[in-house]
Amino acid sequence: MAPLLLLTLIVPALLSWPLGKVMAHLIEPGGTSRYGRRTSELFCRTGGDALTGEQDWKQYLVSMLVFNMMMFAFVTTVLALQQSLPLNPDGKGPLEASLIFNTAASFVTNTNLQHYSGEAAMSYFSQLAGLMWLQFVSAATGIACLAALARALGGRSSVGNFYIDLLRAAFFILLPLALLLALILIAGGVPMTFEGAAVARTLEGATQTMARGPVAAMVAIKQLGTNGGGYFGPNSTHPFENPSFYTNIVECMSIVLIPMAAVWMFGRITGRMRDASVIFSVMMILLLVKAAAAFWLESAPAAALWGLPVEAAPNLEGKELRFGAGAGALWAALTTATSNGSVNCMHDSLNPLTGLVPLAGMWINVVFGGVGVGIINLFIFIIIGVFICGMMVGRTPEYFGRKVETGEMRLALLALLVHPLLILGGTALFAATPAGAATVLNSGAHGFTEILYEFTSAAANNGSGFEGLGDNTVAWNIATGVVMLLARYIPIILPLAIAGSLASKKPVPETSGTLRTDTPLFGLIILGSVIFIGALLFLPVAVLGPLAEHLSAASH
């Protein structure tokens, strides 16, 4: 089975190359197909010049924020009124206010942290027009912002137009891919219907209600757009979201496909494919290490079984047996490398050290990462690495031929601080107060990990749940909602500001005295920056959570 799992990494890596080329072609002005041009023209006629003119990075960000606020307001309205809106065959009732805030924040930020169960709480209209719509446009926002960053780093003062980019990303890139994947999933047995829940009489004579709906459409974009918000509460462990071993492999590959392709898109727009190769290699190495570690650690039995005759088996607790323990570990690694957050096994039941793998992935949040934003996150690590190591060659540090100085470093450090502030600050607050401590289902280190994971997932815009947490409370809904919003927009705004400030500087010609950013040595520097900064910021909580749990179990 291991070779097949390895294939789930290799296939998307191979596909990412042509897809990256297509994405760069589609998102760059003038590079679209006839279908694309026509749609753009229609859009321009309706939207007028205000929506389609060239923007500098500030205007671009303003448009991005305005659009996201509008989407937030729209979906809040849809969710709040779902009981009186159409497409509600099962008559779903109203939602609680803090849950509406949390859910709207969660889907507009591409997080898809779910404090509800879709099949129980959401109408078809909420699922499709509210949540699935956001799954498209939030992913498209990420791709658009990456395109803007790449254009600025390529030295352009105009970084494109946000609305045009959003349109291209949503309709030309995401929509066709999602359509294709949905068809494959339907063929694999995922339901796609507007009929209400099916009611069946079992052999024993009991009545069983089976929730269904337009599942395939939502699962496709949830996997492709690093969204992760499932149609059903149990996400891809549910047999209607992920029926078989084969749909599991296809869904697994879809998690990393676009994040991988985004690296090549970045390379093509900046015109620095060698740099993109280095970035891709760094991310790939981290991904392989994560996947291998999770796979290996999960092949050990759960601590409760240690010393028993059944010990030889891998940890099967919380796994779907149709996928197996290995597939669960691999998915856990992939879904937290990218900021996807869908699951096909129970993360709460992972061995403690395996549980560290998803956590570490979300702490660094740059292993391909969320569509578009993964590279934007890595950009901060690159700038810090360039600054410190660049000095060691005896020159003012430069990136892409532009000097990195006080202004850029101030923004970079601010961006770096957001992530630990939200995770450590949130965890500390909730661990020390009943708001969090009273909601955990396990005591001690494991319970701590449950709180830590929830804040980590929200701050990484990941959305996966460790579970084992009564998280649908007003305190959790508001706290994670705020964390998701801050963790989404600040790490887009600051890097774009840095890139804009770099773009306004005069380019310095590269000489043999310049620190080169397209070499394996620089790859090592990026790798070092990511691992070092990640470790220094999160080592104490890693020790107190998963490591303490593992060591305590081992010492018994």
Partner: protein, 694 residues
């Protein structure tokens, strides 16, 4: 001490003082005691605030001291341990202050000798033709003063009348006197130097207290020191990292509550101080000061720290050929007469034409002619010499009988001959080209309108210069040779020396144009110059180094002055700039790399009581939790003085490509930075365990 008889002594003292400062060991007793005293004064939080890392450390020290006092008062808590933490924290701050104070003191030792030259003298001020005695510190810009042989020049200025031998050893350390004269490019004099011969009149160009020397002294002593751009960016970075670690340690206290632990605040402060980049934070100011100090040791006065730092970024070096690439002046090596012209005639006319040319080149033409001609000819004396000038580019002699001899650059001489109505044979141009192609400078000699032939001036490359250039090129520098030679000669010399480009037949405005062109492509340019007509180019260049012997205009235009007037100094300045940045990068990397080992020491120590399983993480097998924390903190403090030599002398620098240099530094300071504290902390822990205190 203003009487003249004591002057030679003080000069000697000043000189030996400077030499001593240059060679003194790092921790000279006098400097150290001064620095120690100053490091206590610098504990004032107002002066600490400019260094965020050390400010946080001091705040931690204050907090821990208060807790220790509280412990002593209530009798609760582990008093010995808290006092130990507080003491080490205070020591950390003091070490940091000491590093800065020592670097300052070393700068002061250098400037003290400079200051001695600045001390008051009596000046003979000339007003309306009358001399009056005034104190030198009362002199204003524009005043004229007379200086006689044996007297000290009272202030910076320019010679407006006369010429003199000047002993500049007090500021340059060079004992041979130099010639300074009115007009031309060697008219600048510096206050504090001594006139050995003759009488000169000087126009004071800077008011007392604002001289170049004053500004430099203030800069080195840190009085007016502003953070340089890179230093500022690094300070921001370090402040950001400090905030991040404040967050990490700050969150541990409430998290500890979840586990039912009350983490002792001194331990949290200890963890914080170990994690924040105290090493680089403590040494950052010293690195900058030491960079200025190194520049001064190289006898370079920089107008700002920024200029020294910028030197590391230089992409293109504009070097004058003469004195930098080739040895001193060209020597006449051969005569090439045109067909039909006798060698004797050519040599004789060339000699006559050069009689008015007092440059070494002119003299060498005369010397060669004297050697070649069997009979020593007597120069005709009634002729009127036409002196050489940069504009006319020729010299010669006119006789009352209408004969006129000329020698000079081929193109000007050919034009001259044609203007006089002579015909220039095609063979002359061939001859000129042939000489030029050999890398020699052709000088055409003419008798009235008739060209006679060519004198070849040979250049000798400085030994090892090609090798040096190839190393500079490995660092990514473009070297451009500036010469007055014709393009063919320039190309030949450029080839031999291995420079990237050359500006031939260069006039001052060509330099300016070249600099602008390079800057448009984003390159940073450094150049050296001395003349007034170099001033625009010096001002335009990113690093303009004026020679001390040069005019005041040149000195004002550039951002550095080289006291030695040594054209190769540019290379040294660039190396100082690069070393400055490298030292910062290396120590930052080292500082952050250290944190891994400290985590392994402190984290198990903090939590092992609540979570016994964490004992496995104590991979260094440190004796006890207290000893683990104290050992890390002691290592963190002691590494500061241990690295003072690296901060002040700079990391070892050899010219090499960026990649090689980075790999080497990453290995030493990155990997070394991870490994060293594991060893250091273990050793300190063993020593602590031996004392039995913890």
């Amino acid at each position: 001490m203003t009487n003249r008889t004591s002057l030679p002594d003080t000069c000697e003292q000043a000189k030996s003082g400077r030499r001593k400062a240059k060679t003194s060991s790092l921790f000279e007793k006098q400097l150290v005691t001064g620095a120690l005293r100053r490091s206590a004064v610098m504990l004032d939080p107002r002066s600490m605030a400019k260094n965020p890392v050390m400010f946080v450390t001091e705040a931690g020290a204050v907090l821990t001291t208060l807790i220790a006092a509280g412990n002593a008062f209530t009798g609760k808590g582990n008093l010995t341990y808290t006092v130990a933490v507080a003491l080490i924290l205070w020591l950390t701050v003091l070490f940091s202050n000491f590093a800065e104070a020592l670097a300052e003191a070393r700068g002061k030792a250098q400037t003290d000798s400079l200051k001695r030259t600045r001390r008051n003298t009596v000046a003979r001020k000339v007003t309306n033709g009358r001399e009056e005695s005034v104190n030198s510190d009362e002199l204003q810009e524009g005043d004229r003063v007379v200086v006689l042989a044996g007297e000290i020049i009272p202030g910076d200025g320019e010679i407006v009348e006369g010429a003199a031998m000047v002993d500049e050893s007090a500021i340059t350390g060079e004992s041979a006197p130099v010639v300074r004269e009115a007009g031309g490019d060697r008219s600048g004099v510096v206050g504090g130097t001594r006139v050995i011969s003759d009488r000169i009149v000087i126009r004071i160009s800077v008011s007392a207290g604002n001289t170049f020397l004053d500004r430099m002294i203030a800069l080195v002593e840190g009085a007016v020191r502003q953070k340089t751009p890179n230093e500022l960016a690094l300070t921001v970075t370090l402040a950001g990292l400090t905030l991040a670690f404040l967050l990490v340690t700050g969150s541990l206290w409430p998290i500890g509550k979840y586990f039912g632990m009350t983490l002792p605040v001194p331990t949290l402060v200890a963890l914080l101080v170990c994690l924040i980049p105290t090493t680089i934070g403590a040494l950052l100011a010293a690195i900058g000061l030491a960079g200025m100090d190194r520049a001064l040791s190289a006898n370079v006065l920089a107008k700002s720290g920024k200029a020294v730092e910028l030197a590391g970024d230089i992409d293109t070096l504009l070097l004058d050929k003469t004195g930098t690439i080739t040895i001193g002046n060209r020597q006449a090596s051969d005569y090439f007469p045109l067909p039909g012209i006798g060698l004797d005639r050519l040599a004789r006319i060339a000699m006559e034409a050069s009689s008015g040319d007092q440059t070494p080149e002119g003299k060498s033409i005369v010397a060669l002619a004297e050697k070649m001609l069997a009979v020593k000819p007597s120069l005709e004396s009634e002729g009127k010499t036409v002196p050489f000038s940069a504009q006319s580019r020729m010299s010669g002699i006119d006789f009352p009988d209408g004969r006129s001899f000329r020698k000079g650059a081929p193109d000007t001489l050919i034009r001259y001959c044609e203007k006089q109505g002579g015909t220039v044979p095609a063979t002359l141009q061939e001859l000129v080209n042939e000489v030029a192609r050999k890398g020699m400078t052709p000088i055409v000699v003419a008798d009235g309108p008739e060209p006679l032939g060519v004198v070849a001036l040979a250049d000798i490359l400085k030994p090892g210069i090609a090798d040096r250039f190839s190393r500079l090129r490995a660092m990514g520098l473009r070297i451009v040779m500036v010469t007055g030679d014709n393009p063919l000669t320039a190309a030949a010399i450029a080839r031999d020396a291995g420079v990237d480009d050359y500006i031939a037949e260069a006039r001052p405005e060509d330099k300016l144009q070249y600099i602008r062109k390079e800057q448009e492509q984003g390159r940073l340019i450094a150049m050296m110059g001395d003349g007034t007509n170099d001033a625009p180019a010096l001002a335009q260049a990113d690093i303009g180094v004026a020679m001390n012997s040069g005019t005041q205009a040149a000195k004002e235009a550039g951002n550095m002055v080289d006291l030695d007037s040594d054209p190769t100094k540019l290379i040294e300045i660039i190396e100082i700039g690069k070393q400055l940045l490298m030292t910062r990068g290396a120590l930052t990397t080292f500082s952050i790399a250290n944190d891994i080992a400290k985590y392994f020491a402190i984290i198990p120590a903090m939590f092992v009581l609540a979570i016994p399983g964490l004992g496995v993480l104590n991979i260094m097998r440190l004796a006890s939790p207290e000893s683990a924390i104290l050992s890390s903190l002691i290592f963190n403090a002691i590494i500061i003085p241990l690295l003072i030599p690296v901060a002040i002398r700079g990391v070892r620098y050899r010219p090499m490509g960026a990649d090689t240099m980075l790999r080497k530094n990453l290995l030493i300071y990155g990997v070394g930075g991870v490994v060293a504290p594991f060893i250091g902390i273990k050793l300190i822990d063993m020593a602590l365990a031996l004392t039995g205190l913890v």
